[in-house]
Symmetry: C2
Subunit: 145 residues, 2 copies
Amino acid sequence: MSTTPSSPVTHADRFARAREAQSVALLEDYAELIGDLHAEMGEARVADIAARMGVAQPTATKAVSRLKREGLATSRPYRGVFLTDTGTALADRVRRRHRTVVSFLVAVGVPEDVAELDAEGIEHHVSDQTLSAFDRFLSAGTPED
Amino acid sequence: MSTTPSSPVTHADRFARAREAQSVALLEDYAELIGDLHAEMGEARVADIAARMGVAQPTATKAVSRLKREGLATSRPYRGVFLTDTGTALADRVRRRHRTVVSFLVAVGVPEDVAELDAEGIEHHVSDQTLSAFDRFLSAGTPED
DNA sequence: TTTGAAACATAGCCTTGGCTATGTGGCATG
DNA sequence: CATGCCACATAGCCAAGGCTATGTTTCAAA
């Protein structure tokens, strides 16, 4: 009664969604990073992935396995890691979303370094609809751009 | 140039912080929920906690154990769960932050239901500085309030 | 061509946060 | 006052995402 049981979206639903988002967050980050490494140095080595993510090398290896299992990346032993088309699309989408979130936070008065820090966590929970709102806010706020 | 590698705050640092935030996120949610249940029904039973969080009952029990271990809650077997002063303070802080985030999202054009959904994940990654910016934005945007 | 260091893989362990199945305590009701 | 049901606890399992320690490849340099 107190929880408006007739509501289509329950408290529990929201938590379930947040849990879901969190479970794909790391995959998104790894995919984006691999894309960045390819752009910056022409290839993505496990050692570089580990260094950039701030994790031990076996942790990066395990993450790559998960990416492969999800169809986002490919790799052969002792060679670099490559994104599949799906993985590349994901990386691009994540990168764009990240930039939008950071720009948006800065636009509403968050210091750049703080925006960069917070965006890393926030971005994974920003739905398409919210992202659109951010985009609209940005284009409305910078007509002289 | 896209990732400003010369920055004192590295890519890895940001991920570490996001990981940190995620590890306390659930504790925050459980604490807030227990506070809500006390406010709504005078007590917080494990069964209600589980139902609201959308998890099985043993999962809620385990979460309560963690809360107790962290000094946020107390409980005796087969009795309700109670927040400590620290837990209450945390719950209040989380609740206020949640409301601010939702209000802010709505203020920038996100539909209410979507704001509610996204806030559940976003709020845990909003730093004090970013929260202040949201507050400032809200008071600036509603001078007639 | 050998070899040694760096890069990578693998094994095995931990914690967290889910789950199901099953044991136990508390309390209302017959 | 007995007993059955519901609430809760406990045991044991799983996957994810960390870690260290230790094999295995690769490659460049001697």
